[in-house]
Amino acid sequence: MEGIVGVFRELDSTVEAIQALKKLRAGNIAVYTPAPRHELEHIIPHGPSIVRLYTLIGGLAGATFGYWIPIWISDYWPLVVGGKPVPSWVPYTIISFELMVLVGSLATVAGLFIHSRIPRITMTVGYDPRFSDAHFGVWVECPPDRQGDVTDTLKKHGAVEVRGEQ
């Protein structure tokens, strides 16, 4: 996992650098930005995030569990209360809704963590503390032979600093 990382101060120079690197096809490109910028998202095409699948599964699981628990309990020990039907599913809708939200949210967070590969014990390659402050970072994962022209492209587009990482 070795490659070159370039540190930029301006957004537009970062964008131009990435467009250039894409033409170069040196290797996978990752961009580090202090805040999500939609210009950068459009440059690296990805499908919609997989996290919504987690949300769907979590929500459905929560909803069914929310209905199943009360109805099973009423049937398990049928006690009539206030003349209401023993398995009165109407009030159980609230339990189902609450569990849908709970399990749905937790599943969404799980999805985010799994697909962002966090929690992560050590900082991975190619990260520079300035990326969370005011600088943009472009990390190109490429074999040593291609590193030369990747460094030139980055410098050409005004990278403040370029260095190799293992």
Binding site: L11, S13, E98
Partner: protein, 483 residues
């Protein structure tokens, strides 16, 4: 040194829908520095924390005394079986909801003014719900058996009763606490990364590192983050409405006159958001002044929030009138005598405190001068908190003391134990909130960076907004007062 934009001219940030004046912030480095500067503890903060903790200990002592000796030490006079504790429970749950409104619902509406104040509001939500969650346990006759309300497999093979609003409450409050805490935490992740990278003190650096779960600000993370944040906001929005509807079902499901109305769910939600916005003012105005965040939380933000407060106050006002109308229109003698007793009889003082604080005083927000005066907003928010506490008091206790059976009509007067525990709840909330503002960023770093234009080599319009002179260096001196 050129400012971002001459005052008065509407300059939109890169989020087009945000029609609010850009906070006069120049670039990313300044955002990180200024927000980090709010984190170092000061003497006054420590004093406030100690005060909060003493209030908490007073409340805890009163509660332990009540558990040991019995609920009789509190002011309950049957048939008023629910008193100050349930009023305070609904009061705190209500305050929580505005935080979610500002952070989740306004996120879905893409309201620009939420960005700088949503973190405070969301933190207020989590701590308000933590405070509220104590009360259902605290007001029990046998608090050491509270776990019977949770469906856990037990050797007695008997389960909670799911038709009871109190069991719905357990699910609603726990879900709401979990979801809003998660929502707050996910929002904080990028900020922890920013703090971790700029922190020099090794211990705090390690802690922020652990808290940030190793967040790297990479594009894949931002992509999933955006989606996850959107879904959490999507889940939080109906959750807010359902939680306070469930809390209102505690009363709407009873056949007590004054409680038994279908109006209760929307009425409670509106009341919740209104009291929450009130509390947001109470919190954001002092922080804004002491933490020098005036140029982040500008008067435009407070103006927009004040309009929201006025709007919800009008809803609550109509809700009161509808309640009176239902009581009169229903034609039942029991409702008539109950309403007369609440507004003009035994409880007239509580009802009129509620009406003045919640409907009459907020009408002053129609005047822009008052909307933009922070001292008036702060005092009004104090009245709103008082009014909303009394609104719940007026709904619960007069209804129970003047019910179907004339023989059991009674009066209710809380005792010192009630007030101590109420004070303890404010102490508990204030303690957590004070700890929060000194250890976690009060204004979201990454989101502010998101809405201010980035540093550009070639100045040009960003999404149709002419941004001039954006590439200037930032000298970290303290920015002058913007407004």
């Amino acid at each position: 040194m050129a400012t971002v934009a001459p005052p008065g001219r509407e300059v939109g940030p890169n989020i087009p829908e945000a029609n609010i004046q850009l906070p006069s912030v120049r670039n990313y480095r300044q955002v990180t520095d200024e927000i980090r500067r709010t984190l170092n503890p000061t003497g006054m903060w420590l004093a406030a924390l100690l005060a909060a903790i003493t209030c908490l200990l007073i409340g805890l002592g009163a509660w332990m005394w009540q558990v040991y000796m019995g609920l009789g030490v509190a002011g309950y006079s049957p048939p008023v079986m629910w008193g100050v504790y349930i009023v305070t429970f609904v009061f705190w749950v209500g305050i929580g909801h505005a935080g979610t409104l500002i952070s989740a619902i306004l996120y879905l509406f893409r309201a620009g003014f939420r960005t700088t104040i949503y973190r405070c509001a969301e933190a207020m939500t989590v701590f308000a719900i933590m405070t509220a969650g104590l009360f259902p346990i605290l007001h029990l006759g046998r608090p050491w058996k509270f776990f019977w309300l949770i469906p856990y497999p037990n050797w007695r093979l008997i389960w909670p009763q799911f038709k009871s609003p109190l069991v719905w409450d357990v699910f609603a409050i726990l879900t709401y606490l979990t979801v809003s805490a998660t929502f707050l935490y996910i929002g904080l992740l990028p900020d922890f990364a920013a703090l971790r990278d700029r922190e020099r003190n090794p211990l705090r650096k390690h802690i922020y590192g652990v808290l940030s779960f190793g967040w790297r600000n990479s594009d894949t993370e931002w992509r999933h983050f955006a989606r996850a944040y959107l879904f959490l906001a999507a889940f939080s929005t109906p959750l807010v409405l359902s939680v306070h509807s469930t809390v209102s079902f505690d009363f709407a499901m009873a056949n007590v006159p004054g409680w038994h109305a279908t109006l209760f769910a929307p009425y409670f939600v509106a009341g919740a958001i209104f009291s929450g916005v009130g509390m947001v003012f109470t919190i954001i105005i002092p922080i804004r002044r002491w933490f020098n965040l005036k140029h982040y939380v500008t008067l435009n933000h407070l103006d927009a929030a004040a309009k929201l407060c006025l709007f919800t106050s009008l809803i609550v006002g109509t809700a009161y009138l509808t309640e009176f109308f239902i009581g009169w229109y229903g034609g039942s003698e029991i409702e008539h005598s109950f309403w007369y007793n609440r507004v003009f009889g035994q409880w007239w003082w509580a009802a009129w405190i509620m009406l003045t604080c919640n409907t009459i005083l907020p009408l002053t927000l129609f005047f822009q001068k008052l909307r933009r005066s922070t001292t008036w907003l702060f005092t009004l928010s104090m009245f709103i908190n008082l009014g909303m506490w009394f609104e719940r008091f007026v709904i619960f206790d007069p209804s129970l003391s003047h019910e179907f059976e004339p023989w059991q009509w009674t009066a209710y007067a809380p005792t010192y134990v009630d007030w101590c525990i109420l004070l303890g709840s404010f102490g508990w909330f204030a303690m957590w909130f004070l700890l929060f503002i000194k250890n976690f960023p009060v204004v979201p770093i990454s989101e502010v960076k998101e809405i201010i234009p980035p540093l550009l080599r070639v100045p040009r319009a960003v999404e149709g907004i002419e941004v001039t002179g954006m590439h200037l260096e930032y000298e970290p001196e303290t920015p002058g007062e913007r407004d």
